[in-house]
């Protein structure tokens, strides 16, 4: 049988998918244990979430949460940092430490036959890190080198400078790595103190997903985490009003072939009731390949490899940000088009029925593929723990997104995005583009020096 290629086949029905059940218990010390059984491959993904991140860095000690997280795997008791990594390597473990504004996560994925041993190591790492002076000196030095290196990475420069412009001294105003001065002022005692106050079972959730069952995990976790105790205490003390800075800012990068752009402002937290509508709105505006902004700047104008927007949902209001790297000569054009698109979706050019159904479908029809691996499931479950979401969150996601209307999309964009408040940052060749930028009606470009963020 040959096909007639007159029209595209309509997608047929797909077998229903339900998110696997989460089994929960709480250990005597307050550590929450959440497990999901997922047995397609013989491995287990462990993630230990501590709800303390870079936003908890004390004033002047920016980078402390990240250094502390980094030092957890530097050995324990009489075991050196190398010994610790030998032990992980002997399990063929995939090990990672991750730090964000609101949390840190230590993760280990292993073949299920090594599950007991991996959990012992995870407990050693969290509960009994050695936090030695000499290791601290080395870890800090490597982080200072990293800071030196990222001064030449346009995307990293843009991210750091943009956070500072948007948030100032607010808990989200610095990147997790901190800066040269704060790292220089840090001591190993700061790290020990942070570990003592912040990395406590009352702030933590252990997630295990894979070829494992809850009762066994409960018994093992109770054993290895038995010595962990104490309630988490205050660590931060950061607070401050959001700055109201210039609208057009430039970090000079002479002879740069492209300009790295960030456009956005502080927007909204993860707990907003508008969450689902904002996801749909963002998908249409800049969250997928066929979004308005990517089609405009890449597929129509050809001035970039790709453009995207995102609401970075966090516990406190996170930023709405557009990011794109464009050829130098197109810098002003790209800023103008981007702001035009951001403005248009709030009303002047409302989303069409076709855009809406595409945006909704893109978020919902492929939802199952976000839960294919143990690691993906663990990360999904972690969102529940991090943002206090209910267990039926995943089951409710698709029907909730499907209910979003075109009017709602316009309304939430109008509510949470304000073109007159957008801050623009350019990392680029100011000698070439400076005059163009001045003509955009966003004020004279303000030069942001490399020392200020």
């Amino acid at each position: 049988m040959t096909v007639t290629r007159t029209e595209l086949p309509e997608p047929g029905p797909t077998r229903p998918f339900s998110f696997p059940a989460i089994e929960k218990s709480t250990l005597a010390n307050g550590l929450r244990l959440w497990t999901v059984s997922h047995r397609s491959v013989p491995l287990v993904a462990f993630m230990l979430l501590v709800r303390r991140g870079a936003a908890s860095d004390p004033m002047g000690k920016e980078g402390l949460a990240a250094v502390t997280a980094d030092m957890l795997d530097e050995g324990t008791g009489d075991r050196s940092a190398i010994d610790m990594h030998e032990a992980l390597a002997r399990l063929g473990a995939q090990f990672d430490t991750d730090i964000g504004s609101d949390a840190m996560v230590v993760s280990i994925t292993v073949l299920s036959r090594f599950c007991d041993r991996a959990l012992e190591l995870l407990a050693d790492i969290l509960v009994r890190p050695a936090l030695r002076e000499d290791d601290f000196a080395r870890v800090r030095q490597l982080r200072l080198h990293r800071l030196t290196q990222i001064r030449d990475m346009p995307a990293a420069v843009a991210d750091r400078a943009f956070l500072k412009l948007l948030y100032g001294v607010h808990p989200y105003g610095h990147s997790a790595i901190g800066d040269e001065a704060s790292l220089a002022s840090m001591t190993v005692d700061d790290v020990r103190g942070f570990h003592e106050r912040a990395i406590r079972p009352s702030a933590a959730t252990l997630i295990a997903v894979g070829d494992c069952d809850h009762a066994v995990m409960q018994r093992l976790a109770a054993e290895v985490f038995a010595d962990w105790s104490g309630a988490d205490g205050a660590v931060g003390g950061r607070d401050g009003d959001l700055p109201r800075g210039a609208r057009m800012n430039v970090v000079p990068r002479p002879r740069a072939p492209q300009s790295e752009l960030r456009i956005g402002h502080v927007a909204v937290g993860r707990d907003t009731p508008d969450y689902h509508a904002l996801l749909v709105a963002n998908t249409i505006l800049g969250g997928q390949f066929v979004s308005r902004i990517n089609l405009n700047l890449r597929e129509d104008k050809g001035v970039t490899y790709g453009a995207r927007t995102a609401f970075e949902f966090r516990r406190l209001p996170g930023p709405f940000v557009l990011q794109v790297s464009v050829e130098t000569s197109a810098t002003a054009l790209a800023i103008e088009e981007s702001i035009r698109e951001i403005t248009a979706i709030r009303g002047p050019r409302p989303v069409t029925a076709e855009e809406l159904s595409l945006g909704i479908a893109a978020l919902t029809r492929g939802y199952a593929r976000n839960f294919e691996t143990a690691d993906q499931i663990a990360r999904a479950v972690m969102q529940l723990a991090l943002y206090d979401l209910s267990d039926d969150y995943f089951a409710e996601f698709v029907p909730r997104v499907e209910r979003v209307t075109a009017d709602e999309v316009c309304a939430v964009m109008a509510r949470h995005v304000d073109p007159s408040r957008l801050t623009t940052l350019v990392v680029g060749d100011v000698d070439v583009i400076g005059a163009d930028l001045g003509r955009l009606g966003l004020g004279d470009p303000v030069i942001v020096s490399g020392d200020s963020f």
Partner: protein, 434 residues
């Protein structure tokens, strides 16, 4: 441990590989064309990758963007080009399998009527911007070009990076895309793997329906060019970086060749992870480097191994080079220890199990089946691939290091901050990279 599958070759030469995995209601469609930057010639570099972009711009019966219908069906999709092959994939809800096959078959059979000068010019601009973003405007971003240029002679198909030279991309014309498509994009030069929530028999029927009618093209003769280095080629360039970085590179065995797995394990124990010899010595103990890594980059005709090490502030690359060469000589002379071998074995096993987790996308099961099928003509290779690693002995690993990571026949590339030429490894010549 295996990926179970059935293989069928259609009359027009298209290989079809089907793997059932009903864990999740999704299906991966993965299509490889046996063409990459190694099929290009000097003066025409970057074309295979530019062509990949054109495949997303619509075909005769759907002359609009490729993404829209698929994203509307809930698909994730992408493509990539390397020296040896070009691949395209979609992961769709199982009900959208037919849509994906319709779209893939239409661009395999009917791309050219929809390929206009406007689209061509637009995607050329996009690719030039991809090159600026990922290579030119990135610290050390031109290292791959410099290394490949020095490792392989000017007429060798691995002499250039897949992204291509700016001048070549700017000079290329639309009619060359037509010729390229006819030569390389046809069923007899492709392999289609479908994995996930499918029933094999009706899926094969669908494949026959959509792909069976496409005309077979002429078989493409394999490219085979040998290469070797006769000396230590020492080059440098200055870049907008803060810390100097040293690259050592060697021509090594091809993918799946004798010594390939051995060198994969050897580069791991030398420089990957905190337990590796070079990390421990340079970063952990002496603290003269800030990072170090190594890899055996396996390719169809030849591989190349590479050690990359970035100096800590205040240290010149000569000091790093001496230490790296000394550790390589030590490994060649004494071989690995038992603990390193045991670690390598269990890490290989874990990595292979991890690879079984996803049906699609880059590196998923469908991608792996196509890799084995295209490069070995034997898709049933997953288990034997793992065996290659499990079978490596101390003596074999030591021999591979001695044979291939020869300090006298390598490329030594220094990249230093602009104006800090004194930091380059001794006796290096300036290299021209763009």
């Amino acid at each position: 441990m295996n990926i179970s599958f059935t293989k069928h070759t259609l009359d027009n030469g298209l290989d079809v590989l089907l793997h059932e995995d009903h864990a999740c209601p999704i299906v991966a469609v993965n299509l490889w064309y046996h063409v990459g930057s190694k099929n290009e010639v000097p003066g025409k570099t970057g074309f295979a990758h530019l062509f990949e972009h054109l495949m997303f711009e619509g075909s005769e019966h759907h002359d609009r963007g490729f993404f829209q219908p698929l994203q509307g069906a809930g698909a994730a999709l992408n493509g990539s080009t390397n020296a040896d092959r070009t691949n395209y994939w979609e992961v769709v809800p199982s009900g959208a399998l037919e849509l994906a096959l319709w779209m893939e078959s239409d661009r395999m059979g009917y791309l050219l009527p929809a390929l206009t000068q406007t689209k061509f010019a637009n995607q050329r601009d996009v690719v030039l911007n991809e090159r600026r973003q990922n290579y030119e405007n990135r610290p050390y971003g031109l290292a791959p070009m410099a290394l490949l240029n020095a490792l392989f002679p000017a007429d060798h198909p691995y002499h250039w990076a897949t992204i291509g030279e700016i001048a070549d991309l700017e000079a290329v014309e639309l009619d060359e895309a037509h010729a390229f498509f006819r030569r390389y994009y046809h069923p007899a030069n492709a392999s289609l793997a479908i994995a996930g929530d499918i029933e094999s028999a009706p899926t094969l029927d669908l494949v026959r329906q959509y792909f069976g009618e496409l005309a077979p093209g002429e078989r493409v003769a394999p490219v085979r060019v040998m290469a070797s280095l006769a000396r230590d080629v020492r080059i440098y360039f200055e870049d907008r970086v803060e810390l100097p970085r040293l690259y050592l590179a060697w021509i090594t065995p091809a993918m799946f060749g004798e010594g390939d797995a051995d060198l994969d394990l050897a580069t791991d124990l030398l420089a990957n992870g905190k337990t590796s010899r070079l990390y421990r010595r340079l970063v952990f103990e002496q603290r003269i480097a800030t990072d170090v890594s190594a890899s055996q980059n396996s390719r169809e005709m030849a591989g190349y191994a590479q050690v990359t090490v970035t100096a800590a502030p205040g240290h010149a690359l000569a000091e790093l080079e001496d230490a790296v060469v000394e550790e390589i000589r030590r490994l060649a002379a004494d071989g690995p220890n038992d603990e390193e071998m045991e670690r390598g074995r269990v890490q290989a096993e874990s990595q292979f199990v991890f690879r079984l987790q996803t049906i699609g996308g880059f590196g998923g099961k469908s991608d792996q089946l196509n890799a084995y099928n295209m490069f070995l003509g034997d898709a049933d290779y997953f288990d034997r691939d793992l065996q290659r690693y499990q079978a490596v002995t101390k003596a074999a690993l030591q021999q591979a290091v001695a044979d291939y990571l020869d300090p006298a026949r390598r490329v030594t590339l220094s990249i230093v901050p602009t104006g800090r030429v004194a930091l380059v490894a001794p006796n290096s010549e300036p290299a021209v990279v763009t």
